[in-house]
Amino acid sequence: MNKVAQKKNLSCMQVFKTFQVMLKGDFSMQEIVEKLNSDEPDIIYNNSIVSKYINTCRYCGIEIPKVHNKYFITKVPFGLTLKYSEIDLLKSLENAISSSMSKKNFDILSNLINRIIGISSKKLTKIEPNDYQKVFEQFEYAVTGKRKIKLLFKNRDILECIPIKVVEQDGKVYLKVYNKRHRMIDLSRLSGIETLYESFIPVKEDIVEVVYKLKPPLAQRYGLRSNEVKISEEKDGSIVISNQDENKEHLLSRLLRYDTYCEVLKPDYIREEMKQLILNTLKNYGE
């Protein structure tokens, strides 16, 4: 191996280590220094060195506001940055399948979605006196998007709450929020505001397998869903499909669309439900 390949740059490694520690969470300068030194045999890092490394990160476009004496990475130019509308898409996907997926699977998916959102830009704004425009925009967005917010007070208190509206009273600006009761928060008491994305959705645990037959020509052009497998193919070209873990109402609604090209085979109670659905629909027409 040549000498160049073996060489490495120490301060370059230290900048990266600092960046990686900050990616793991929001820490104070002291905490960052301690975390960095804990991996070293001797004390290498101090406030001055780490401060220089944080500046280096900022210089290359990484946004690191300091709120409550803690450093928050809110934007990495070479990292995944999701727009609000994209976070909405992920959240609506999560909401849409909350009742049709088993709890175990839903938790895995929800965790993935929150992880993706988590590594993308954090919606945190440092509140500077006399520069409230960004705060208003973030607050209004949270109201429209029906998202909770976290208010960071100058006295280090933190309040997770539901944003209601911006109110102006006697020349002062307040954020009207709700947490157990309505509260009016004086903007001058705040040092930061963060938009949260967490939601609580009831999920169900049952997993049901439904077997149905599709007849030609639909059978030939049918694209199996990811929760489906083809069990068998019959001589006339019909296929038998096993569908797992799909919301029953969605599934029956979809299978009805295939009209005479589809027949539910198992389980008996779902077959009976499908039959009843058809009979009830016919009753609408006096049949």
Binding site: K8, M13, T56, A96, L112, R257, T260, I278, T281
Partner: protein
């Protein structure tokens, strides 16, 4: 190379650290040759033009020590360094990607084409930050629009917005020879994972629904103020209660009664209307037109027969 002010500013930062961070960003963005990296470093005043390339090689080696998996720049890689993995890359496992696919498949039939397009771009964006090639491939394969020419589709959506008249080369399913058609565009819709252009065929003087994949070429397009009357199939039906399906853009409540809601839906063709009505199940009764109502009854009777056999 640097002004005094710039030098002072740089005293507050680690120049080598800055180089490493920028190198990291450059490699996440795309594979790079040593010349490309050097050009960027020179552009950002992080390196003098006559500095040796070994500086970059040492930076690359430092990243490798920090857990970055970077290939060597060989002929095989087009003399470029390729970033295969890095410590803060987005890690998604097989189970997670399969659940994401499952979730997408569950909702894709209930959302508009424009939303599907947004999901398509989002999934592509997420995939860019995944370093595992297999997972990346599965992610790229999730979108129902994966094999659609997105630029063409977006252009077509724009044409519909401005109601442009397109002269197209269209490959009909019943013939090997393509046909030229002149279409006054109306809407682009997705049905059963296929994209259709809905419009008015100026030569045939009738409403048509054309498979997007069969449009081989757009020969010309022009703006037009001429209004072509396209009569959609209008179905009036009673909904007792809204179950899993809400109303779509082309459906509206025209009356509320004790029995439920009377809805008027406008559909591009009978097939779309039939599927839509059946999907409501027993909560829905077709009121008019009579021939469509009779057609639904006939279908339901045949379906009943299947379960009575």
């Amino acid at each position: 190379m640097l002004s005094a002010e710039e030098k002072l500013e740089l005293c507050q930062i680690s120049l080598t650290g800055l180089r490493a961070l920028i190198l990291c960003g450059l490699l996440i963005d795309a594979p790079r040759s040593i010349e490309e990296i050097k050009n960027k470093f020179v552009e950002f005043k992080l390196m003098a033009p006559d500095s040796p390339n070994d500086i970059i090689r040492i930076d690359l080696n430092t990243l490798r020590v920090m857990g970055f998996e970077i290939t060597r720049a060989t002929k095989k890689t087009g003399n470029k360094y390729i970033l295969k993995d890095y410590p803060f890359a987005l890690k998604i496992d097989e189970k997670e990607v399969s659940l994401l696919k499952n979730a997408y498949n569950q909702i894709k039939n209930d959302i508009k084409l424009s939303t599907l397009l947004e999901y398509h771009q989002l999934i592509k964006k997420i995939a860019r930050y995944v370093t595992n090639d297999e997972i990346k491939e599965i992610l790229y394969g999730i979108s129902v629009l994966k094999s659609v020419d997105i630029d063409n589709l977006e252009e077509l959506i724009k044409d519909c917005k401005y109601k442009r008249i397109l002269k197209i080369e269209y490959q009909p399913p019943y013939s090997k020879n393509p046909e030229e058609k002149e279409i006054s565009t109306k809407d682009v819709v997705i049905q059963n994972d296929k994209i259709y252009l809905y419009g008015f065929d100026i030569n045939l003087k009738e409403a048509v629904t054309l498979n997007f994949n069969r449009i081989k070429k757009i020969i010309s397009k022009k703006d037009s103020n001429e209004e072509f009357e396209i009569k959609p199939l209008v179905i009036k039906f009673l909904i007792k209660e809204f179950g899993v399906a809400g109303l779509t853009e082309n459906e509206k409540i025209v009356e509320k009664s004790d029995e439920g809601f009377i809805i008027e839906g406008q559909y591009h063709n009978e097939f779309v209307a039939r599927q839509r009505i059946l999907s409501f199940g027993s909560t829905c009764t077709v009121l008019e037109p009579e021939d469509f109502k009779q057609h639904i009854i006939d279908l339901l009777q045949k379906m009943r027969a299947i379960y009575n056999e």
